[in-house]
């Protein structure tokens, strides 16, 4: 039956557009980015836009990262933190929280964890967006969804300016999650409320890159 419908729908489409004129190429005259090509400005913009959508943003360098992560977890009262495969071990070296490896935890088991620490695939400054692709240190999608606190580490060199710059750097075959601030709703009289089903708190740590390492 479905096979018939397939042919029927395709036939209907073909007859519907049979007399329609050809369409030329799409004009892509829009901008590739709206921001000057200045890494400091792009990083500042990411910071500003993340904060504007109520993420908590922190900055550090490689050396300061473990202590900063430890402090974020402690201040939020996170006692158990789920660890995605491939997360650099030193990121959690400073924390007293109990690390929970992801041994195919069930959703209910994940719900009993307080926090998750991940990296990301890239971040988009103009929209204040983090993109996770399940690569090393990011884990499967459920890990950054079920726990109530998400600490996400972004390295400076992972930041792009715009959406058009982000897409070619992403692999569509991987499951992708674009995150712009914590979960939110405006369904009740249009009052924005942070945190419905996703993590109610999003902490973002921006890590300065190699250009600052010497200093």
């Amino acid at each position: 039956m479905s096979q018939n419908s397939r042919e029927r729908i395709l036939a209907r489409i073909r007859s519907a557009v049979a007399d329609a004129p050809e369409t030329p190429d799409v004009p892509r005259t829009y901008l590739a980015r709206h921001t000057p090509d200045d890494p400091d400005a792009v990083l500042d913009l990411l910071h500003e836009n993340l904060a504007d959508y109520r993420a908590h943003v922190h900055r550090t360098d490689e050396a300061g990262l473990p202590a900063l992560i430890a402090r974020r977890l402690e201040e939020r009262g996170a006692r158990r933190v789920v660890v995605p495969d491939g997360l650099p071990a030193e990121w959690l070296a400073g924390t007293a929280a109990e690390p929970v490896p992801d041994d195919r935890l069930t959703p209910a088991a994940l719900d009993a964890v307080d926090a998750v620490v991940t990296g990301c695939a890239l971040a988009v400054a103009e929209t204040g967006t983090l993109v996770l692709d399940g690569g090393p240190g990011q884990g499967r999608r459920a890990l950054s969804l079920v726990p109530d606190l998400h600490v996400c580490v972004v390295r400076e060199e992972q930041v792009v300016a715009s959406v058009p710059e982000a897409l070619p750097r992403l692999d569509p075959r991987r499951p992708l999650t674009w995150i712009s601030g914590p979960s939110a709703t405006s369904d009740i009289e249009l009052d924005r409320v942070e945190g419905v089903h996703g993590p109610r708190t999003l902490e973002v740590v921006l890590v300065r890159g190699a250009r600052f390492a010497a200093g």
Partner: protein, 482 residues
């Protein structure tokens, strides 16, 4: 289309009961004006908005011209990535496919993320009849479902409910479906959201089957995209073992790159954000991440009829942002329920009659539920000329019944309602004269011309509506002045 609200009166009658409800009107006015102003600011941030809008429109037109090829390519890519593709000619077939897929899993409940397509086909009611309970998981849809109500706005379906009513609904009904509302629940939005979080979490954690729609499907890669705010979408797309997505055929875009246009225009047009909190993209299935089984149900249900109409087919460009609702003077005064379908407002007035024809009184009256002011066209991120399609559909309605026919009478009443509301008309005419210079008789650019060269766009005369009314006014004008 089985999403017709049973017993739905034609536009003017439905509107009469809506406008009597002062609170609904207040809520709607507050909501539409708030979103409208925020949207204008979000759009103004992008210097290349006009170019993005033109590109979005042209991508959609080009896709529709070769829709068969893009769907075949999509099918191939989804299948190659481990998904299964089904084709549904109408709502009955789509409902049957989904019900059979759910039954095959042995489950009797599913979690759902808001989807216009599944509302259009009446999936929840169908599943219910088959002994399967579908839980809506968007906060607003939950409010609507628990309140045994109908959505009134594409984006904010519970826009007609205030916080006190929502508290009462939660307190009285949550316990019937699962975890009851917490003791002493107040009407603060944060507490209400928390109650919804707790109520739904138990359902997410045990759900084995998820049902969704999609905002975009990329033919090149087989990727589906869901844009959302709350995270319930991520829950439904990620935690269940089986995922079933029901998506209209017009949602396909050819290339991965095309998303760079719509991911910029959709969030700014709909929620007035630079980016919505969560966007999920998935391609078939992935080992050890998310559902093991993925089914895509491609839905026609009248879309190919719309595609065959050379003027009306532009409605298929719609990306469901709801910007046109928020600027519409008729929608603001009439409310979403008056449109008698899941698609309210200006887009509903042109989409519904095309998807299900104009044989019923409510559908025949929809093209008249407008003052042709053009505000909807101005804000539409894919440049759908809604007034043009409305005029075209009026011609069709006028041609089908003849003078004095019941359909014509329904149309007259809708027209009469608009005319009898000076606010609607004045807003309309003011905008029309302001934007008339922006309505070219032929659309600019070589591409657009090839779609439109053989016909002139209708102009916007100074008093389009009154002219039309004078010519068509029934001898016995509708007496009811709501």
């Amino acid at each position: 289309m089985s999403g017709v609200f049973v017993g739905m009166p034609a536009f003017p009658e439905a509107v009469r009961s809506a406008v009597r409800d002062e609170r609904l009107r207040r809520n709607l006015r507050h909501a539409t004006h708030t979103i409208r102003d925020k949207r204008a600011r979000a759009v103004a941030e992008l210097a290349d908005w006009a170019e993005l809008r033109e590109a979005g429109k042209r991508i959609k037109d080009r896709t529709l011209r070769h829709l068969d090829a893009h769907l075949l390519r999509l099918e191939e890519a989804v299948t190659a990535s481990g998904g299964t593709v089904h084709w549904a000619a109408d709502s009955d077939e789509a409902n049957r496919i989904v019900a059979d897929l759910v039954k095959a899993t042995g489950e009797t409940e599913v979690v759902k993320v808001k989807s216009m397509a599944t509302q259009e086909i009446g999936l929840n009611e169908h599943l219910e009849a088959e002994g399967i309970r579908a839980y809506e998981t968007d906060l607003a849809e939950l409010i609507v479902q628990l309140g045994e109500d109908r959505p009134s706005h594409i984006l904010v379906p519970a826009i007609h409910r205030n916080r006190g009513e929502i508290r009462d609904i939660f307190r009285d009904t949550m316990g019937r479906w699962g975890r009851p509302a917490p003791e002493g629940l107040s009407d603060s939005p944060a507490e209400l959201a928390e109650a919804a979080r707790l109520h739904l979490r138990e359902k997410f954690l045990r759900a084995k089957v998820g049902v969704s729609g999609a905002n975009f499907m990329v033919a090149e890669t087989g990727t589906l995209v869901v844009v959302e705010s709350e995270g319930n979408g991520r829950m439904c797309l990620t935690l269940p073992e089986t995922l079933i997505s029901v998506v209209g055929v017009e949602k396909v875009v050819p290339e991965w790159r095309d998303l760079e246009v719509f991911l910029q225009t959709l969030p700014r047009s709909s929620t007035a954000e630079r980016m919505n909190p969560y966007t999920s993209m998935w391609t078939g299935t992935t080992d050890a991440d998310g559902p093991k089984t993925f089914h895509l149900v491609l839905l026609d249900n009248g879309r190919t009829d719309a595609l065959a109409d050379e003027v009306g087919r532009q409605a298929l460009r719609c990306i469901r942002c709801s910007a046109c609702l928020n600027v519409c003077p008729v929608y603001e005064r009439a409310g979403g329920h008056a449109y008698g379908s899941v698609y309210p407002g200006p887009i509903g007035a042109i989409l519904t009659p095309q998807l299900r024809g104009t044989a019923s009184e409510v559908d025949a009256s929809l093209p008249y539920a407008s003052s042709l002011c053009g505000a909807c066209y101005e804000v539409c991120p894919v440049a759908i000329d809604i007034p043009e399609v409305l005029v075209h559909l009026r011609e069709k309605v006028a041609g089908q019944g003849g003078k004095g026919h019941r359909l014509e009478k329904a149309a007259m009443k809708a027209a009469g309602w608009v005319l009898d509301h000076p606010g609607v008309l004045a807003a309309g005419e003011r905008l029309a004269s302001k934007t008339r210079g922006l309505h070219p008789r032929k659309l600019p650019g070589p591409g657009a011309r090839q779609w439109t060269d053989h016909r002139d766009l209708p102009g916007l005369p100074t008093e389009p509506f009154r002219d039309w009314w004078k010519k068509n006014r029934p001898a016995d004008p509708p007496g009811d002045r709501a």
